[in-house]
Each structure stands twice: as structure tokens, then as C-alpha cells.
């Protein structure tokens, strides 16, 4: 019996929301470090860019609060009123998980439920507390990912992973786009003087500090960072890896349902293009345009997936 | 008398709808008072249609339209011959005894105003009830979007035929007289031949038979009424009950023309 479309939709969105919560946790953590712990504190600008990365500038502006560590960190973690906070994502993830309890293993459900319980516990507003909190979310997200990987290899796993891949592609692209702009001093060509701490922040946000060291021996260079995040398939949060994972998951689903559709065609075309993409050429021809097109295409692919599997 | 009916219902959606499912109660049946000469319903999009009879004995048609649907036009056109007959309506499909129609539903509760419309449980009393409603409230044929209860309607000044029919039913049942809601078509009774909704009136069970009363004209309904569906109240006899699956708003345009042929 083929899986219910609603179940598939819930699993897909479960994957997306857990991934988003995890990304937000890492974004907040890296920003705390950049703002407070680095040798040259970046100050409120770092928090403003965190808002931009998470598409929450407008909703934050609506709160009337001033941009700063306390206000933005709280906004991105514990503010239930908007879809760009960890708490909102966990609520949504848990609701989806609850609706498909029978499709998940107990491990996978408990990871979500634990993260939700951790985040709903009362707490203070200290910066250290925020770091502990995001650390806990990261741990539960890893636990969830592990539990999903241990699940039977079937549609349930593939839809969660498909959702995660689509979400991750958007997050990484948005992160590069915002940070890249911020870091590019006016009138200065990309690849010029850079702030080492800023680039480290980006790598931290996608958990790629170690990967960078493995792949590049020459120290932090923006062109390398961009290449790593765009086209190095070995790095799980690179665009190349997300694009590849998307095709793979759609392939598995296609084998199970016995047909392929619009989403498969779009994902495969994207993969073929990605395999030909050279980071330095993209930088020369316009990284911002490239990333914007990527984000748009990713959203179209998301819609195509919803149509193909009748998410309603 | 020969009556011709042309009833168009047009939906426009601000966004395409994935599916539309409608239950149509738009087919009249032959009775001692009416003979349906020809009658058809046309739909302007691909749709599957299934005909049946509902619990009250009304002829129903299910309409299943697959999207994307941006507009939908339902056209009812037909002719019926009406017979001059002063007696009760006979020859109808009656799955229930009249007792059922004593049941007070949430839409047909009575209050002091409704109970104060008179007394009596015989044919003249029911005719007087229709006249009392006609005298007390003024008729406004512009349709209201939702069905109000008889009590809600009674608190208003201007009522539609649907409100008046439900007040009639509430009052009759409060006196222990079985009464039911009728949806159908009629000549408006004045020069205005076009209306934006089908008509509604009531039947009461008196003197051993079902008689039709139209409070909108203040008395027995006569030669110019084509009876389509009956039920306990307006909700049960709605000419079109539908659900659409899709986002956006809907715009509804109804045009009913009834002419003596």
C-alpha cells in the first residue's frame, strides 16, 4: 500500500522543520561567538545579519525592539510568534511527528519530544544559557537524524531526508548570500581583505570548520569558502551535497511509487547544472544573482514535490 | 398553467479550486398539483454526476468536478404544468409519517413573538398564520448569505421567503401541527420576474393532508409554485449544498427567471 499523501507531507515538513531548528541553533551559536567571543567583536551588525539570514528582519522590526544580542537571540530561539524561531519550528515539527506517530520509530519521536520539552522549560536570559540551549537542540537534532537513519529504509525515511535536503539547500544559499554581501566592503573586489572571524562564523554555522581544514591547506580564503559551500559534495551542507541528496531521495521514492514526475526532472536538471558549476566562475559572473536564482529554483522544486506527491 | 423556469448559479473563484463537490436538490417531481414537462441541469465544466433520492424522498444529484476550476455555471431550465386543485398535495414520495415534521430543529424554535402569531391548528388557522406573517414583516427577496434561525429572523424587520417559511414552520410546530420547509420556484407575485434566489415556502399537515402555504404572499400557495424539495428546515432542503477544495474567495451570482408560458 502506498503511503498516504498527508503522511508524506508531514514527514517532509518534519524533516524541514528539524533542519531549520538545527540551522537556527547553529546560526545563533556562531553569532554569539562572533559578537562576544571573537578577538574583534562584531557587535549588533552580526545580529542584524542573523535576522537577514533567517528571513526574520520584518517580523523582528514589528516587535519594536532594538537589534542586539539579547533581543535577537531571544527572538530567534524562544519567540513563538513567528515561523523563524527554534521554538516555532519545534512546535511544528512535533505536531507533524505526532500526526505520523505510526510511521516513526520511538527513537525518532523521542528526540523531537525531548527537544520540545527542553525548549519549553523555563529559563533565564543569560548568553551562556542560550549557548547551552542551542547545544541541546543540536544534540537532539543529531539524535533525530541518527534515529531516522536507523529507521527502516522506506518512504518514511526518504521523505524526512528529502525535506531536510530542500531546507538545508535554502539555508546554506541564504547564509552565503547574506554574509557575502555583508563582508564585501564597498568598492572592494571579492577576494580582497577579509575578516577572518566572519568567515569562521559562516563555516561554524554549517559545521564545516574541520572540513575546510581538511580540504584547504592555505588558510581562510573567501574563494575557497565559497567553493566549499557551493560545489564540494563531500561537505554535507554544501549546495552540491543538498542537490545530490534531493535527486537520490526522489529516485528512491520513484522506485517505490513506480513513477517519476516534474519534481524528478527538475531535481535532475539542477544536479546536471551543479556538476558543471565552478565556484570561481560564479564569483566572477555574480554570486548574488546565482544564489538568488538557486533559492527561487529550490522553492519551485519544493512546490513541484508537493504537487507530485499530492501534499494538498 | 404552464410555468417556465430558468435558474443560473454562477461561481467565480479568486483562485482555481482543486475539487468541487455539490449536492443539488434542483429536480422537481410530479405531484397531484404539478407535472414536470421537461427539466434539465447543465454544468459548464467536466463533472461527474450521480442521481439519487435522499431520505426525504427528494430527487438529488451529486456533482463532482475536478479542478482546476475557476468558474462554474449551473443552469436549471425547465417547464412544469400546474393544475388547479384546492385539495391537499398528493402523489408525493412520503418516506415519513407527518409526525416527523413536528420535530423542532435548532432552526425552527419558536419564541413569544412567533407563538403570538395566532392560534388554531386547522386549515383556516394555517392560512391565517401565513397572512399574519405576511402582514407583520416586509418581504425582501435579496438573499441572505447564511440561514438564520426563525427566532433570529423574527427579530428583524425585513425577511426573505426562507425566513418567513421557517417562522411559519416554527409557529405551526409550536401548535403541534406538522409543518415542513419547501424549496422551489414561483412567479414572484408582482412585476419583478427575476430574483436572486429560488423561492421557499411551507407545507402544513392539516385536515388529513399536506397543504402548501406561502407567507411571502400571505396565504395558500397557488398555481404558480413549482415544488422541488422538502425537509425539516431550510438547511435540509437547500437547493445547492457544496464544498470546494481550494484557497481564495468565491463570488456567487444567482439569477432566477420564472415566467408563465
Amino acid at each position: 500500500m502506498a503511503m498516504l499523501s498527508r503522511t508524506a507531507a508531514s514527514l517532509y515538513w518534519l524533516g524541514r522543520y528539524v533542519e531549520r531548528a538545527d540551522f537556527l541553533a547553529r546560526l545563533v551559536e556562531a553569532t554569539v561567538r562572533l559578537d562576544a567571543l571573537s578577538s574583534r567583536p562584531a557587535g549588533d551588525a552580526a545580529w542584524a545579519s542573523a535576522l537577514a539570514v533567517s528571513y526574520t528582519e520584518d517580523s523582528f522590526a514589528a516587535t519594536g525592539e532594538a537589534v542586539g544580542q539579547g533581543s535577537v537571540a531571544r527572538f530567534l530561539t524562544c519567540d513563538r510568534s513567528h515561523a523563524g524561531s527554534i521554538l516555532w519550528c519545534l512546535d511544528a515539527a512535533r505536531n507533524n511527528a505526532k500526526a505520523v506517530r505510526t510511521a516513526l520509530t520511538r527513537d525518532a519521536w523521542t528526540a523531537i519530544n525531548r527537544a520540545w520539552i527542553v525548549f519549553n522549560a523555563p529559563r533565564g536570559e543569560e548568553g551562556e544559557d542560550i549557548l547551552n540551549l542551542v547545544e541541546a537542540i543540536k544534540a537532539e537534532a543529531r539524535g533525530f537524524e541518527g534515529a531516522v537513519q536507523r529507521m527502516m529504509k522506506n518512504e518514511a525515511t526518504w521523505f524526512v531526508q528529502l525535506g531536510a535536503a530542500i531546507e538545508r539547500a535554502d539555508n546554506t544559499a541564504r547564509l552565503i548570500d547574506v554574509k557575502y554581501h555583508l563582508l564585501l566592503p564597498e568598492g572592494e573586489a571579492v577576494g580582497g581583505a577579509i575578516d577572518r572571524d566572519q568567515w569562521t562564523t559562516i563555516l561554524q554555522t554549517v559545521s564545516a570548520v574541520t572540513a575546510y581544514r581538511w580540504l584547504y591547506s592555505e588558510g581562510l580564503k573567501p574563494a575557497n569558502v565559497i567553493e566549499l559551500l557551493l560545489s564540494r559534495g563531500e561537505v554535507p551542507r554544501s549546495l552540491a551535497a543538498c542537490v545530490d541528496e534531493t535527486v537520490e531521495m526522489l529516485n528512491m521514492l520513484g522506485k517505490r511509487t513506480g513513477f517519476q514526475g516534474e519534481a524528478d526532472r527538475m531535481a535532475r536538471a539542477r544536479l546536471a547544472r551543479m556538476q558543471k558549476t565552478r565556484a570561481h566562475e560564479v564569483i566572477v559572473s555574480g554570486l548574488h544573482e546565482y544564489l538568488n536564482a538557486f533559492i527561487r529554483e529550490n522553492a519551485m522544486l519544493d512546490a513541484a514535490i508537493a504537487r507530485q506527491f499530492r501534499f494538498i | 398553467m404552464r410555468l417556465s423556469v430558468h435558474h443560473e448559479t454562477r461561481y467565480r473563484f479568486t483562485e482555481p479550486q482543486a475539487r468541487i463537490v455539490q449536492l443539488l436538490r434542483l429536480f422537481p417531481a410530479d405531484t397531484s398539483h404539478q407535472t414536470v414537462v421537461n427539466w434539465r441541469i447543465d454544468v459548464d465544466c467536466d463533472a461527474r454526476l450521480r442521481d439519487s433520492i435522499d431520505g426525504y424522498g427528494n430527487i438529488t444529484r451529486m456533482l463532482y468536478a475536478e479542478g482546476p476550476v475557476e468558474t462554474l455555471l449551473l443552469t436549471v431550465s425547465g417547464e412544469a404544468l400546474l393544475t388547479e386543485d384546492d385539495g391537499p398535495i398528493k402523489g408525493t414520495d412520503e418516506p415519513f409519517p407527518p409526525e416527523l415534521f413536528r420535530r423542532v430543529t435548532s432552526l425552527t424554535r419558536a419564541d413569544a413573538v412567533i407563538e403570538g402569531l395566532g392560534q388554531g391548528d386547522d386549515l383556516p388557522a394555517m392560512t391565517a398564520l401565513a397572512a399574519a406573517i405576511h402582514a407583520r414583516w416586509s418581504l425582501d427577496r435579496r438573499p441572505t448569505p447564511t440561514i438564520r434561525t426563525a427566532i433570529e429572523a423574527a427579530g428583524d424587520e425585513r425577511l426573505g421567503p426562507r425566513d418567513m417559511a421557517q417562522i411559519f414552520i416554527a409557529a405551526a410546530r409550536a401548535r403541534g401541527v406538522p409543518a415542513r420547509y419547501v424549496s422551489g420556484y414561483s412567479l414572484s407575485g408582482d412585476d419583478e420576474r427575476r430574483t436572486a434566489a429560488p423561492h421557499a415556502w411551507a407545507e402544513a399537515y392539516v385536515a388529513g393532508g399536506w397543504y402548501a402555504f406561502d407567507p411571502a404572499i400571505g396565504g395558500r400557495s397557488g398555481l404558480d409554485h413549482v415544488r422541488v424539495a422538502v425537509a425539516l428546515d431550510a438547511a435540509g432542503a437547500a437547493p445547492i449544498a457544496g464544498v470546494r477544495m481550494g484557497a481564495g474567495e468565491e463570488e456567487l451570482d444567482v439569477d432566477v427567471r420564472v415566467e408563465g408560458a
Binding site: 502506498a2 498527508r6 513513477f259 | 463537490v21 438529488t60 449544498a241
Partner: protein
């Protein structure tokens, strides 16, 4: 109200249990209360982890509670059960015959057994579905008949549940817990298994598939969604039957056929175990303002293309106003005396009865005809003066909305309390399955227990708990099995 009959201790107290149950009473004496308590806490922890919770009406969604569980089982002897089963089957068959008749020929009204206005004036009689005959003529596929007991051989039907009776997941989960926590009981007593319930339910559903469904009908469980208080039970049943758990949005009706939407396209659905009230199953027929439900479902049902388990319209059979006529209904269709009696009931719509009830408000139990869950209920002997006066006014204003019954000395079963084992009042809901060919009673059920001392209200929403219900397979406790030949020999040393 005299001393209540205790189902294990009889009338003699802990030291003089009923002879058949002496072994169980010994077990109760043998396991110290702190050990029982430890086991009970372990069971409750499991229930919480599994999420066997219910939402209390009026509480926020966060208030998910588990229903308290008690570790001392209630026990039916084999012969008691055999007699009960006959009565339950007779009653269920009468309910089905009544529904088939009342929505069809209405012979029972023509025979003058029931006052017609009791049916036609009752909102539970649904004109919308009249004229439909469900596939194989089965209406109440799953019946929960609530019983109370007042003595060794005195059982009464308190209420019939022919719509969507819940609680079967407790029967199954409580048994699982008991097997884990008190394995010695199952070695010492031959307890009939209940774990075949999901298979029997699926078999029942398949048997009533419409004729066109073929050899492998597709069955589903329809839930309002995961915010519903009984969602756990819905997912549990779907899971243990191995069928899809669907929400209204997963189903669509096209051309009078029901389909479910899957990632590989539409799959035709033949049998729906629906756990959604009549009012919300099809918005084009009932409740047009409701956005829930499956538009067109009643039309597909009328066309004979789908079986609905249980059938819409069943409320007319388990309505409290109808209840008082059940003995007459059973007599009419079974052409025999009812094996299970009703509790004596005063219909307050009748002036004589109303007068009696008003004169004895401090002795009787008054219930709303359309109430459930223990709400809108007066228990005279334990009510305050104010409550009694409130009910007096309500009764005088709208007598037809109430019935009253004598306050029964409900039987008790020893229950673990802070002060050790003590008798607490219980009721019982067995489940009767009716398929195309068979009517069967699952040997077990849901025992609800009023945890407050002296309380007669067992509803979970009012502080009630549950117990496992053992049905013994014969009167003699089995000998415990020897381990001869199964263990390493200890000889030779």
C-alpha cells in the same frame, strides 16, 4: 443503600473471599502493598511514554493525562461470562434489528411498541439517511454495552453505546501491562486472551465490505486528527490492524466512490471505521457550515459503494430516552425475554414518573437524556442541597430532557489506595462485534473504577480509573506448570 457486593471478597470481607476466588484473594494478601504500588507506577510510566493519554474537556491541549490504572484485576468466572455473553449478543442483535427496522419498514411503530414521537421527535433519528440499507444490513458493528453489577448473579445494562464506543485500547494495553507486571497471575489462572481483538475487528470490517469490493477490501480507520482526545486509540487500532489511519482530508469522493489520496495516486476505499460523529462526516448532508468531513461520503454510502463502521444514524438506538424501552425492543425482535435487564428507569417526560423523581431526588440518579461523560448528572445520595435544588428547577423546566434511576449499590473490586487495598465501585464495558455472518463478544472489556471512596462516578473525566478484566476459561485454577526436564539438572553434586 446497603453494603455493596464485592466481586472478589463477596460480602465477607478480605478474610472470607468468594470461594471461587480464594486463590486470587491469597495472591492479593501475598503481594505487599508497596510491591503492588511499585508495579502500578511502572505501568503508569509505560502508559505515559506510549502516550496513552486523553484530553480532559475544557482543559487546554497541554493537559494530556493518563487514565489511572489499578493493578488488581476484576474477574469473571467462565459460567458468569457465558451467561453475560448470551445476554450481550441478544441485546446487540436487537439493536441491529431495531436500527434496520426503524430506518426501513418501522414495524415496531406499527406494532405500537414505541410511541412514534419518541423516534420522530428525537434528533438522533436522522431523516437524511433514511432509506439507506448498509452493506449486509449491519448497523452497529461495534457495540459497547455498559454493565453494572449488584450481586453474584445480578447484572444490569446501564447504557448502550452503538455510535463510536471507545476504550478498547485500554482493554488491550491494560492486559499487556498485567502480563508484564503480574506474570504469576497468568500462570495460576487460565485467563482468556483479548489480543485477538484487532484481528477480529478487521475480520468484522472485511465481512461487511460492499459486494463490489472484491476479495481484498481496503479498510481504513478515520480519525478527526491528532488533536482528538481519543487519537491514541485511533492510531493504536489502525496500527494493530495494519490499516491506514486517515483524516477527512485524505479521503475524497468522486462519482460516488471513496478514494484515499496516496503518493502513488488514488486508492479505492471499501470500509471505513469512522471515529467521527455523524454531524461531521459529510458537510454537504450534515452541518453545511462544518469544514470537517468528507463531502459526498453519504452519497457514496447511499449508492452502496462503501461500508461505514458504525453506520450513521445509530444514535437512535443508544439514546437515553430509547434506553428505557430496550426491554420491549429486545422482546419485539428476539421474541424472547431479555437475558440482561435494564436498570429501572423513570422517564421524566411522564408526569407520574416526574412526580416520583422530584419526591425522591436525594435517593435517585438523574441523567440528561443527551448527556455523556458523567456531565449533567445528579447522584442524589451524595449531592449537596444546592445541587439537588438546581436539578429540581431544571427538571421542572424541561422534564423531557431527563431520566432518573435508583442509586444502585454498584459492586466493588478491591483497589490499591493509599491505605492499602480497599473496595471501590466499578462498572464494565464489554465489546460486541457484529459482522456479516457472526456476532461475537471479546472475552474481556474495560472495567472502570471510581477511585474516590464511596463514589459511583467512574468516568475518566471525573477521576475514574481502569482495571484489567479477566475472563477465566474454566472454574478451576490451573496447576502451575512444573519445570521438569527444562532446567539444568542439579543432581550429582
Amino acid at each position: 443503600m446497603g453494603q455493596a457486593f464485592d466481586e472478589i471478597w463477596g460480602h465477607g470481607g478480605p478474610d472470607h473471599p468468594r470461594t471461587d476466588l480464594a486463590a486470587l484473594a491469597r495472591w492479593m494478601r501475598g503481594v505487599p502493598p508497596h510491591e503492588l504500588k511499585r508495579r502500578l507506577q511502572s505501568a503508569e510510566a509505560t502508559f505515559r511514554q506510549l502516550g496513552i493519554t486523553f484530553a480532559v474537556y475544557g482543559d487546554s491541549e497541554a493537559a494530556e493525562r493518563i487514565i489511572p490504572f489499578d493493578i488488581v484485576p476484576r474477574v469473571f468466572m467462565a459460567d458468569e461470562w457465558a451467561r453475560l455473553s448470551q445476554g450481550l449478543i441478544q441485546r446487540t442483535q436487537a439493536i441491529n434489528a431495531f436500527l434496520d427496522d426503524i430506518y426501513g419498514e418501522r414495524r415496531i411503530l406499527k406494532a405500537g411498541v414505541l410511541p412514534p414521537d419518541l423516534i420522530f421527535g428525537n434528533a438522533q433519528f436522522r431523516p437524511e439517511i433514511a432509506g439507506i440499507r448498509p452493506p449486509h444490513g449491519v448497523w452497529a458493528h461495534i457495540c459497547g454495552i455498559d454493565l453494572v453489577r449488584t450481586g453474584p448473579d445480578e447484572f444490569y445494562v446501564l447504557e448502550d453505546n452503538a455510535r463510536t464506543p471507545s476504550g478498547v485500547s485500554y482493554m488491550l494495553e491494560n492486559r499487556e501491562a498485567m502480563i508484564r507486571l503480574c506474570p504469576e497471575l497468568f500462570r495460576n489462572f487460565r485467563v482468556a486472551a483479548v489480543d485477538s481483538y484487532p484481528d477480529r475487528l478487521l475480520e468484522t470490517m472485511r465481512s461487511v465490505a460492499p459486494p463490489g469490493a472484491g476479495a481484498h477490501p481496503t479498510c481504513v480507520v478515520l480519525t478527526p486528527g491528532h488533536f482528538n482526545s481519543a487519537y491514541y486509540e485511533h492510531s493504536f487500532l489502525a496500527d494493530s490492524m495494519g490499516v491506514e489511519l486517515v483524516e477527512p482530508a485524505d479521503l475524497l469522493v468522486d462519482d460516488d466512490v471513496v478514494w484515499m489520496q496516496t503518493i502513488a495516486g488514488r486508492v479505492r476505499v471499501d470500509v471505513i471505521y469512522r471515529r467521527i460523529d455523524d454531524d461531521f462526516i459529510d458537510p454537504v448532508v450534515f452541518r453545511p457550515e462544518s469544514l470537517l468531513g468528507v463531502p459526498g461520503l453519504i452519497s457514496a454510502y447511499r449508492a452502496g459503494n462503501v461500508a461505514l463502521v458504525n453506520a450513521p444514524g445509530n444514535g437512535i438506538a443508544d439514546d437515553k430516552a430509547i434506553y428505557s424501552y430496550m426491554p420491549e425492543i429486545v422482546r419485539f425482535y428476539a421474541e424472547a425475554e431479555p437475558l440482561l435487564p435494564n436498570v429501572e428507569t423513570w422517564r421524566c417526560r411522564e408526569p407520574q414518573a416526574l412526580k416520583y423523581v422530584l419526591d425522591h431526588l436525594d435517593e435517585v440518579v438523574v441523567k440528561l437524556v443527551d448527556g455523556s461523560g458523567g456531565y449533567g448528572m445528579l447522584v442524589g445520595p451524595t449531592a449537596s442541597k444546592q445541587e439537588i435544588e438546581d436539578f429540581r428547577r431544571a427538571l421542572i423546566a424541561e422534564p423531557q430532557r431527563y431520566i432518573a434511576q435508583p442509586t444502585l449499590a454498584l459492586s466493588t473490586v478491591p483497589t490499591l489506595t493509599e491505605q492499602g487495598l480497599a473496595p471501590r465501585h466499578v462498572d464494565f464495558r464489554p465489546f460486541v462485534l457484529t459482522g456479516a455472518q457472526t456476532v461475537q463478544v471479546v472475552p474481556g472489556g474495560l472495567t472502570r473504577v471510581a477511585l474516590k471512596e464511596g463514589s459511583l462516578v467512574v468516568n475518566s473525566s471525573q477521576g475514574g480509573g481502569t482495571k484489567d478484566s479477566f475472563v477465566l476459561m474454566d472454574d478451576a485454577p490451573v496447576q502451575s506448570q512444573t519445570m521438569g526436564g527444562m532446567t539444568q539438572s542439579q543432581g550429582g553434586r
